[in-house]
């Protein structure tokens, strides 16, 4: 397929019309106050290149991206801890909804790649933003993770939560995603 057509597909499908501002990105991710007691941030800043390294979303200038934010939180917990131990909340803001759509598609490609290798399983997520994709990753040993990404107008957001196998559920993580979605809805 000609690169020109591809480029048009990527960046030409949508425009901003009073959408989410990249200046608000910092306020559109989960904070410790949004999580169960005991969580503390260990990373909190604009999206850096290593945050997306090796993914289909590695280019920080992709799809007309204007900015983004990453918040990483953890809590202490041993083998008996239920719920998430590590939570990563991200947001990326684009110049138009087309860019956000392309970004969600890139998320989906990364998820699909993991499904294809057997590393992840697709999970259904409904009524989250304008579109959403999700996967469950069962790593070796005791680890388990859920990854949820969605689009809200001209922004994409994600929540990744890691915990111990059998002690982390989709509903735990989806509840966090809905909490972040509420922030996006207010900003939109």
């Amino acid at each position: 397929m000609p690169a020109v057509l591809c480029a048009a597909l990527v960046v030409g499908c949508g425009s901003s019309s009073g959408g989410i501002s990249s200046a608000d990105a910092k306020n559109l991710v989960l904070r410790a106050s949004d999580l169960p007691a005991g969580f503390a941030p260990f990373a909190d800043g604009p999206t850096a290149s290593l945050d997306t390294q090796g993914t289909a979303r590695a280019d920080l200038q992709r799809f007309g991206r204007q900015g983004g934010w990453v918040m990483r939180l953890k809590r202490e917990g041993g083998a008996s801890q239920t719920g998430p131990l590590v939570v990563v909340s991200t947001v990326d803001v684009f110049s138009g909804s087309g860019g956000a759509k392309s970004d969600l598609e890139a998320y989906a490609r990364d998820f699909a790649r993991q499904v294809d290798t057997g590393l992840a399983k697709r999970v259904a997520v409904r009524n989250l933003g304008d579109d959403a994709v999700a996967a469950r990753v069962a790593g070796p040993g005791a680890g388990s993770s859920f990854l949820i990404a969605w689009r809200k107008r001209n922004a994409t957001a994600s929540v990744t939560a890691s915990g111990l196998a059998g002690k982390l559920t989709l509903s735990d993580v989806l509840a966090l995603a809905r909490r972040q979605e509420a922030k996006l809805a207010r900003a939109a």
């Binding site: 850096a48 289909a56 280019d59 699909a112 057997g118 590393l119 990753v137 990854l147 890691s162 111990l164």
Partner: protein, 742 residues
């Protein structure tokens, strides 16, 4: 290693996505595994360059200082971890109290003044990555330290991001510090060399020349006394002020010094075009300096270049691409089978002949990487090779894309190699090569150590250090010989769970049982007596740290193989015999020293080019008959989860030096390494720091010395203890935060 599929491929996948996600995952045809390209990643200092380091502490543990300088006021009480960290003989080289990390080390000894040691490391004391120097004139008992001066640019600005430290002395005792410098917010980067004539205490400030012509070139403004271009090996200014890869990027340089070969005269160069000019006789060095580096660009990711200097680093020859071509690089699909996907170069020179060798890893392969060597006998003007030493089994490391999503959640790049149970960068992008120091029959002998996961899987990393030797100038290699002598067995299926010819996969498909513990970041040196000294980080003593323990329980999924020590291994070569390409099978008797019984001549021939999961040389070597005598160097095993940014980075290499005789002592070897004994976790009671660096994380750089042969004698302060619970979890001490900042 596969190449980046590119926009067209991405577009195809993009268009296919909707149907894929609504339908069957099996619809994916050869998904664009763009990250396969990243198995030869950029160096750590570049990986983290656009991340802002912050801390909110004004005190932290300080174990290991042996200095006599004024001490800070201190409101803390020492915890058990700090008390235990003070035991033993390790000496901390960084004297700062910044509570920021130091890592990625190099060290050398002044051949003119043996008590003068010089070391370098990535140093974050200013709040970002710079190049720290550490100098001693009492054989390492006490250290002076600082940050090397930043190079000045034509714009008048300073290039203040630095890293990838290399320190050497030439035969006159002049010290050199090579490094990459870069901007954190755009693609401007280069390679520079600082110079010191007082043992590494005072350094030149390199400059990029500017001006209308070569003759009118200057360094800076009026009154700038520096020689235009002093110390500038290479430099490229960004063209759009955005960190987007719009111009080539310098990375992973190394530096060495050696005599100009017979018939090669000193040559100096102009600052812009690097045209040969007559040298000022007052500044011609006793040695030629050779700088090699990786240059990431559209032409290759990356090509290896070399420049040399005969005037103590003031001027440098035009960059010469030296990676060459070979049939073993055909999988890269480059014109003429060019080997253009490289990283981690290191030059080394025989001091009697001036012959130069440069080793580097290469990814123009179908699957696993390979280690290549080129050589020059005319001072770096022409090269032969590359020669393939062996396959480097570094593709089958644990990574985010094959199951380590816990590390991605902590902020690690999804294709970066990580060890089992931890998340620090682990890609063996820098291996080590050294030329014999003797002449005569030894003059064409050269040695290399590689670390890889041939005895592990993507679930249970079991990286080992392997030794190779050549006795015919680098054309023929004998090996592998496992250097670490702990238990390391062959996995039933090395490629379990890994997709064919890919770094992706599903590590859950591998057996839970591991085959050994990790050794990594090896460095090899040899002294004039033929004493080989290899040093490396080592997790062998941690055999029982529990699953679900440590600083990040979700990452600690396997028993043991977690805390990190520093170890050494020694073997002496007193005889040699030329072994050539026509030799195959058993190693001839005259070349058997420091060679395992299972090692072979031309191991690549034995394994084939793309051996797959089957048995290969280096599997199943008998620990009881290995030739290297192993010994513990660091006093304590520390937790690298406390090293830097949620335990993501503790450097890409660690150096050692085997020097001449120290007056009044036997021949000494010096280790210089990073560890996290002073690092502590976030969590209660200090959980509120909002920055990108958890409260109390730090690593420091430590020094130790030992005899060059006989198993590191004069070094009996290490007890070989197992994993200590005080290092498994080390909370941040209460009350150390800056009180005004909450």
């Amino acid at each position: 290693m596969k190449r980046l599929t590119g926009l067209v491929g991405a577009c195809v996948a993009l268009v296919a996505f909707l149907a894929l996600w609504a339908g069957s995952a099996s619809a994916i045809e050869d998904p664009p595994f763009a990250d396969d390209d990243a198995t030869t990643p950029i160096s750590g200092p570049l990986d983290f360059r656009d991340q802002s380091a912050t801390t909110n502490v004004t005190e932290c543990p300080q174990a290991g200082l042996r200095d006599t300088n004024p001490k800070p006021l201190d409101r803390r009480s020492k915890d058990e971890t700090e008390k235990k960290s003070e035991a033993g003989g390790d000496i901390r080289a960084n004297q700062d109290y910044s509570c920021f990390p130091q890592d990625e080390t190099a060290i050398d000894q002044n051949p003119k003044v043996a008590r003068n040691l010089l070391a370098g490391a990535n140093d974050y004391r200013l709040g970002w990555g710079t190049s720290g120097f550490y100098a001693s004139t009492d054989s390492g008992n006490h250290w002076y330290d600082g940050i090397t001066p930043f190079p000045s640019l034509p714009s008048g600005d300073n290039l203040d991001g630095g890293g990838d430290p290399v320190v050497i002395f030439d035969h006159d005792g002049v010290a050199y510090y090579a490094q990459i410098n870069f901007n954190r917010t755009d693609d401007t980067s280069g390679v520079w060399v600082n110079r010191s004539t007082n043992g590494g205490f005072t350094w030149t400030r390199p400059c990029v020349a500017t001006g209308p012509t070569e003759a009118a070139a200057v360094c800076g403004g009026a009154g700038d006394v520096r020689q235009p271009g002093d110390g500038t090996v290479g430099f490229i200014q960004d063209n759009d002020r955005v960190l987007n890869g719009s111009v080539p990027a310098f990375d992973k340089e190394w530096l060495t010094a050696g005599p100009r070969p017979a018939g090669v005269s000193a040559t100096c160069f102009t600052p812009f075009t690097h045209s040969p000019i007559a040298c000022n006789s007052e500044v011609i060095g006793s040695d030629r300096l050779y700088a090699t580096y990786s240059l990431f660009s559209a032409a290759g990711s990356a090509q290896i270049f070399l420049s040399y200097s005969d005037d103590q680093g003031r001027s440098w020859s035009a960059a010469k691409k030296i990676n060459g071509a070979g049939s073993f690089c055909a999988a890269g699909g480059r014109p003429g089978n060019g080997c253009e996907d490289n990283q981690g170069s290191q030059p080394t020179v025989n001091p009697t002949t001036g012959q130069l060798w440069v080793g580097f890893i290469n990814g123009d392969t179908t699957d696993e990487d390979q280690y290549l060597v080129v050589t020059s006998q005319d001072g770096g003007n022409t090269f032969t090779g590359p020669v393939r030493v062996d396959t480097l089994y570094d593709v089958n490391e644990p990574r985010g894309v094959n199951g380590r999503t816990d590390c991605v959640a902590r902020g690690q790049g999804s294709t970066r190699a990580v060890p089992t149970n931890s998340c620090f960068r682990f890609d063996p992008i820098f291996n080590s090569i050294v030329a014999d120091k003797r002449g005569g029959a030894f003059a064409d002998d050269v040695y290399a150590v590689l670390a890889d996961n041939r005895n592990g899987t993507i679930r249970n990393s079991n990286n080992d250090v392997f030794f190779y030797k050549s006795t015919d100038g680098g054309a023929t290699w004998i090996g592998p010989t496992r250097v670490n002598d702990d238990t390391s067995t062959m996995p039933a299926n090395r490629d379990c769970g890994r997709n064919t010819n890919s770094i992706g996969g599903n590590s859950a498909l591998c057996p839970a049982a591991g085959t050994g513990n990790d050794q990594f970041f090896p460095f090899v040196t040899i002294n004039k007596s033929g004493d080989l000294n290899v040093s490396f980080h080592d997790r062998r003593l941690d055999t029982d740290s529990p699953i679900g323990s440590g600083a990040w329980p979700a990452s600690k999924t396997e028993e043991g193989n977690y805390l990190v020590w520093y170890w050494g291994a020694q073997c002496t070569i007193t005889q040699t015999a030329t072994v050539t390409q026509t030799t195959s099978g058993p190693v001839p008797a005259g070349a058997k020293q420091c060679v395992a019984p299972e090692a072979v001549v031309n191991p690549t021939v034995v394994t084939g080019f793309n051996p797959g999961a089957g048995p290969i040389p280096g599997n199943g070597q008998n620990s009881s008959t290995l030739p290297f005598q192993n010994f513990q160097i660091s006093d304590v095993g520390t937790n690298w989860d406390y090293s830097f940014r949620a335990g993501l980075f503790a450097g890409d290499y660690s150096g050692n030096a085997a020097g001449p005789t120290v007056t009044g002592d036997s021949e000494q070897t010096f280790a210089f390494f990073t560890d996290a004994r002073n690092g502590r976790g976030s969590g209660t009671p200090t959980t509120t720091q909002p920055g990108r660096n958890p409260v109390c994380e730090q690593s420091d750089v430590f020094f130790d010395r030992f005899t060059a042969q006989g198993g590191g004698k004069k070094h009996a302060d290490e007890k070989g203890e197992k994993a200590d619970s005080d290092f498994l979890v080390a909370p941040c001490p209460a009350g150390i935060k800056d009180k005004k900042q909450g």
